[in-house]
Every structure is written in structure tokens, then in C-alpha cells.
């Protein structure tokens, strides 16, 4: 009786494994938790973009494609810091705020200017430029 063939290495060929491999180049062994967090942020960004596209003026100066890209960069860049700043408010940890914060960033393009001005004010107050 022939011996059973030797078992090959235990390979995971799923797309999840591929995504984990790619993310691992950037984040290292803790990549899985970052993928989940950024999946939430991307989902919030997309829902926010749809709301923003519906809310904004038809004759808005910013072209649609530019708005989509700028809101993506804004959501990916600012969601985590904003969520960490809001950590504990309304009884949510910052991981629970990732989705609503990224949604709000993308959905409120008319509030970006106010938010930026407020950030500048806070920054100047922290540095002691403004009393």
C-alpha cells in the first residue's frame, strides 16, 4: 500500500491573507487591527461623501472629483486624531467614534473652513500667540 503523500505547508490563500500581507509591510505584525479600523474609516468616508455630494451646491467651486479625493485624504488623515480627542465623550471609546467622525468629515464640506479656523485659533492659543 502506497504511503499517503506528505502534507504541504498550511497556506492561507484568501484575499484577507493577501490584504494582511500588504498591510504588514507598512504596519508590521499588528496590521490586522489597523485594517479593521481603516475599513471602518473608509466606510464612513464613503457614506459621508454621498451625503456631502447631496448637500453641496450644484455650482460649487470645487469639482466633484477633487472634493472626493480631498475628503478621502481628510478622512484618512484626521479621523484618528479627532476620534482620540473626542475619546470618552458620549460614553464612546475612540474606536467607536471612527465611523461617525470620518462620516462627519466627508459629509460637511461647508464646515471645513470653520473647523480649520477653529484649529488655527486653538493652535495660536496653545502657543500663546493669542490671548
Amino acid at each position: 500500500m502506497a504511503a499517503p503523500p506528505p502534507q504541504g505547508p498550511d497556506l492561507d490563500l484568501s484575499l484577507w491573507a493577501a490584504a494582511l500581507t500588504v498591510a504588514g509591510f507598512y504596519w508590521g505584525p499588528r496590521a490586522a487591527q489597523f485594517i479593521s479600523a481603516y475599513a471602518l474609516i473608509l466606510l464612513g468616508w464613503f457614506a459621508g461623501v454621498l451625503i456631502g455630494l447631496y448637500r453641496r451646491d450644484v455650482d460649487s467651486r470645487m469639482p466633484t472629483a477633487v472634493y472626493v479625493i480631498v475628503s478621502l485624504i481628510g478622512s484618512v488623515s484626521f479621523t484618528v486624531p479627532f476620534a482620540m480627542a473626542l475619546d470618552g465623550t458620549a460614553g464612546f471609546g475612540y474606536t467607536g467614534l471612527l465611523l461617525p467622525v470620518s462620516l462627519a468629515i466627508a459629509a460637511l464640506p461647508d464646515k471645513w473652513r470653520q473647523g480649520f479656523d477653529k484649529l488655527v485659533d486653538v493652535w495660536q492659543a496653545v502657543r500663546g500667540v493669542k490671548q
Binding site: 484568501s14 484575499l15 484577507w16 475599513a39 454621498l50 451625503i51 455630494l53 447631496y54
Partner: protein
């Protein structure tokens, strides 16, 4: 294992999952098309239900793309189906009695339709 070998392995995995990759590409195109439609909508003019209908469908599609690359990829098809189901359910009211205007073939009007168009029998002298 160097970077070239890793890229070759990823390419092999992409070919191995070709149906999923095609599904992701098609769902991405659908998301773009729905986004273009939403961009044409105007708040205060377009009904909110029409926007929500398209947004729900787009989010279902986008969710399926994200789920395809997650540990719960078996739920990707369910996300698309749920989006389509909600889209259809939200247009149920328009389709309940008859095909809505613009979706049926024009046909010659019968005398009762003409009577209705001029205001009914009360318009007779």
C-alpha cells in the same frame, strides 16, 4: 522572500480569486456611477427618499468591496443583496399600482382618458 517574490505571490492569489476581483471591480464601477447620480441630485429639489435609495445601494456595494478583503468575506454577497433589496423596497410605493410614468410604452388614449384630461363630464355644456 524578496519584494518581487511577494508581488508574484500576490498576483497568483489575485488570479486564484479572479471572480472576487472582478466582483470588486464591477462593484467599484457601480459605486462610481451611483456617486455621479448623487452628485446630480439637488437638496431641496430631489426627494430625500431618492437620495437614500441610491445611498443605501452604494453603501451596500462599497461594504461588499471592503468585506471581500476582510476575514468575513462570505458576507460580501449579502451586503450587495441587502443594498439591492432596500433599493427595491424603497421604490415599492411607486410601483405598487402600475409602472411609473416614463417606464411604460406610450399607447393611444381611449375616450375615458381624454374625458379625464379635460376635467371630466362637468366640462360638458
Amino acid at each position: 522572500m524578496n519584494a518581487e517574490q511577494v508581488l508574484a505571490a500576490l498576483w497568483s492569489i489575485a488570479l486564484y480569486h479572479l471572480p472576487v476581483v472582478i466582483n470588486v471591480a464591477v462593484a467599484g464601477i457601480v459605486c462610481v456611477v451611483l456617486g455621479c447620480r448623487v452628485a446630480k441630485m439637488m437638496r431641496g429639489v430631489t426627494e430625500l427618499s431618492v437620495f437614500v435609495q441610491h445611498a443605501v445601494l452604494a453603501i451596500g456595494m462599497f461594504g461588499s468591496i471592503l468585506l471581500s478583503f476582510s476575514h468575513h468575506s462570505e458576507w460580501a454577497a449579502a451586503a450587495i443583496s441587502a443594498g439591492v433589496l432596500l433599493f427595491l423596497l424603497m421604490s415599492l410605493k411607486r410601483w405598487r399600482l402600475a409602472p411609473p410614468a416614463g417606464t411604460n410604452r406610450p399607447h393611444p388614449l381611449d375616450p375615458s382618458d381624454l374625458q379625464h384630461a379635460v376635467g371630466g363630464t362637468r366640462s360638458k355644456p
